[in-house]
């Protein structure tokens, strides 16, 4: 299948490793991934801040970029941005008096999947260890981001995929369905309430004893990770695509300083993520250290 990646603006600019992880998982299944070069943002930041008029060119651009590309389905590693395509883009277009754009936005949204939707519902992946070779030897808890849960009704798709990764020791998050407090511009327009909500969520995360909190939206994870970094709670926030992409030969490292860059110097040669992990000189257990060394050799 030819799959178009909608990286989303935050993953594109801040979390390129999440986009790469999405690519690795899909390529591993034998699919071709393309990146429509004109893509920008889903427009959600503008819409949710009330700037519907400024959202219109962003919507127009997204629809143009994905209408021009040739693909079977599109995928994004974000429940929130995928929900925005279907729930907001047609509304923005209609508010701007462009019915034709609204219809085309609906068509693009109709073929765009959130990553776990695509994996489970379309590609039939139910066991990440067996079907993707995923390996991640850590204790993990999971925060379901609101828009994936309530607008896309993802249910347990993301969680079940993570649970099926070899090595994952899963712990349930208490009050998981409560919002983390990000809310886009809410996070700096109402910083006190947002911080209190993050504090509540982080309290629940640390209570699970997990080393890693995963989820399906980089924005929520950035908010939680940023607050954890301030409190020194010592839990890593990791997008579930990176956990699915992690393998014995090329494992994801979650200790040491946060490094968002795609591993390896900018150049033609691809390097494994393990290189960055071993360079940081830290390994949480024997197993990843050994594998890190292995993959160092294979490099």
């Amino acid at each position: 299948m030819r799959i178009a990646l909608f990286a989303t603006c935050i993953v594109d600019a801040m979390y390129p490793r999440v986009a790469l992880a999405t690519v690795r998982v899909l390529e591993r299944l034998g699919h071709e991934v393309v990146f429509p070069p004109g893509q920008g943002c889903c427009s959600q930041m503008h819409v949710n801040s009330g700037y519907l008029q400024d959202a219109l060119p962003v919507v127009r651009n997204h629809v143009k970029a994905f209408s021009a590309a040739d693909y079977d389905v599109a995928v994004a590693p974000s429940g929130s941005c995928v929900a925005s395509l279907g729930h907001q883009q047609p509304m923005v277009a209609r508010a701007g008096g462009d019915e034709d754009l609204a219809r085309r936005a609906e068509a693009v949204a109709g073929t765009t999947y959130e990553l776990s939707q695509l994996l489970v519902d379309v590609l039939g992946v139910t066991n990440a260890a067996e079907q993707l070779g995923s390996w991640f030897p850590h204790t993990v808890t999971y925060h379901p981001s609101c828009h994936g849960m309530r607008l896309l009704r993802l249910g347990d798709r993301q969680k079940d995929l993570v649970r099926s990764v070899a090595g994952v020791e899963f712990t349930e998050l208490p009050d998981a369905e409560e919002c983390c407090g990000f809310g886009g511009t809410f996070s700096f327009k109402n910083p006190d309430v947002s911080a209190a909500m993050a504090e509540e969520k982080i309290g629940n995360i640390t209570a699970t004893g997990a080393q890693v909190c995963t989820g399906g939206d980089a924005s929520c994870l950035m908010h939680l990770g940023g607050a954890i970094s301030r409190t020194g709670a010592g839990v890593a926030t990791v997008h579930f695509a990176e956990i699915l992409a992690s393998t014995r030969q090329n494992p994801l490292e979650v200790t040491g300083p946060v490094e968002l860059s795609i591993p390896g110097p900018t150049g033609r040669r691809h390097r494994t993520q393990a290189a960055a992990g071993s360079a940081a000189g830290s390994a949480s257990s024997d197993a990843p250290a050994a594998v890190a060394a292995d993959s160092g050799e294979s490099r």
């Binding site: 603006c9 390529e27 009330g50 993707l132 910083p191 993050a198 393998t247 090329n250 900018t266 691809h270």
Partner: protein
Amino acid sequence: MSRTALGMPAVRPVRGQGNLHAETAFPAAARAEMGNTQMRANIRHATHTIRGKRANVVNELPDWQALRSAGSALKESVMANLPELLEQFEANVTARGGTVHWARDAAEANRIITNLVQATGSTEAIKIKSMATAEIDLERHLAEHGITATETDLAELIVQLGHDRSSHILVPAIHKNRHEIREIFLREMTETDESLTSEPRDLAEAARAHLREKFLSTKVAISGANFGVAETGTLTVVESEGNGRMCLTLPETLITVMGIEKLVPTFADLEVYLQLLPRSSTGERMNPYTSMWTGVTPGDGPQDVHVVLLDNGRSAVLSDPAGRSALHCIRCSACLNVCPVYEQAGGHAYGSTYPGPIGAILSPQLTGITSAENASLPYASTLCGACYDVCPVKINIPEILVHLRDEDVRTKHGQRPAADAVPTEDGATAALQTPAGPQGTAENIGGGRSTGSASGPAPGRVRRLFQRLPHPPSEMDLMMKGASMVMSSGRRMALAERALPLGRAVAGHDRRISWLPGMAGGWTDVRDIPAPPRESFRNWWAQHADETQDRVRADGTVPDADPAQPTDPHQVKEGDR
């Protein structure tokens, strides 16, 4: 006065007044409230308890979603036929010996009710818990005219005796725990003494004794109404304590204040709401007391029965197709109990009779966006959607929040007239009806300026003129404009992302950014930003797209020949919500 009508209706709906205006913008009000850790602990405990109870009684119903749809559809039909239903309701109440009064706004309602009480010669009234009377600030108005209205609902009594404000639609004293309640009773009820314990049973008994005398001696009662049935003229009050039943049966005069949106077409329609309301509200299958009365029954109960139909901004809400479903609200408070923002900030932070998610849309809709303070309410949400999920009448609160944010932005940009009523000292509407037509949208730009107002007070005029002047763009405006420019082009995104290493330099050695200037400081006040990556995905991919084989090899996973059978993607999407 001269006014350019531009085809707009001659009579424009009035805007709401009373306890609907936030005095402090939400972020600052929330910050102040959040300092009260006792209150936060009380609210956290109470909301989580009710939340759990509601979930239990909702999950046991196989047809809950169908009930919600019915509740929503019925309210839609009520809104579509409101004028006819109101007239039908009035005719039926009148035919059964009741009297119907029409109140355009809070001031008019307060005047009508005060006159009715004064006509009885009584200076006392007993009250049933009612959102409508709280909205119009009736108690204060009556007190100014020498009439004492005593709350008979336990929680409302606690708030009244504590000289406090309600912080929750269903549980007005949710912010107080039983020890604080004991203190209030000891201080305010002369008949109590130190032997009063803080056991709920003892506190309830003290309130009972305190109120019994009032029930037996007071000749006038004032109530709200949960529902009014157009086809019969029947009014309904749903409650838990039985105080309402006492108020509805013992006094000689009964005055009911009902928002015009509270109608249902037929008696049979109540079956839907009497299933939805208690389960959503108190988490009970059925509430203990459901009282219904139709006009006057000779020789039984109050013989002097009045209904005050309250608009107070509701017609204005009705005129906005994108926001009118806020009028479907049956005041169950389920949205408050699941709201994580309400849980942290508490009800007082919303500055209105209506707190929580429903308040964040209803208050600014009723008043119109008249000030920076109440314009802050639609932003008091992360748009998490928990409120929409539990709403028994399916009000899409997040969608209306976004709609109101858009209205606010356009109002600030002068593309939309500011709201058309400014409350004055006595609550009367200053005639500041700028041309916000039924759509209230950008079609009014420029052309719809009123050229003067004889009756509007000068400050209002000045303010209105000021609001019409082009405003300098805010930091937010500039950010949004810039982001729109960049994010609407892949090429511009790629260029902008070339600056990522700059962010890395700012982050420095510990690879995190802990301080940013201006608006973004709201982020870094409480969180770090990780050092940005060296390169965006887009720019990386331009060099590495063709390295599939390397990537698969590096991961060390050879895909199975046929790992899974892909499903036709188009079929899957069909099943999506």
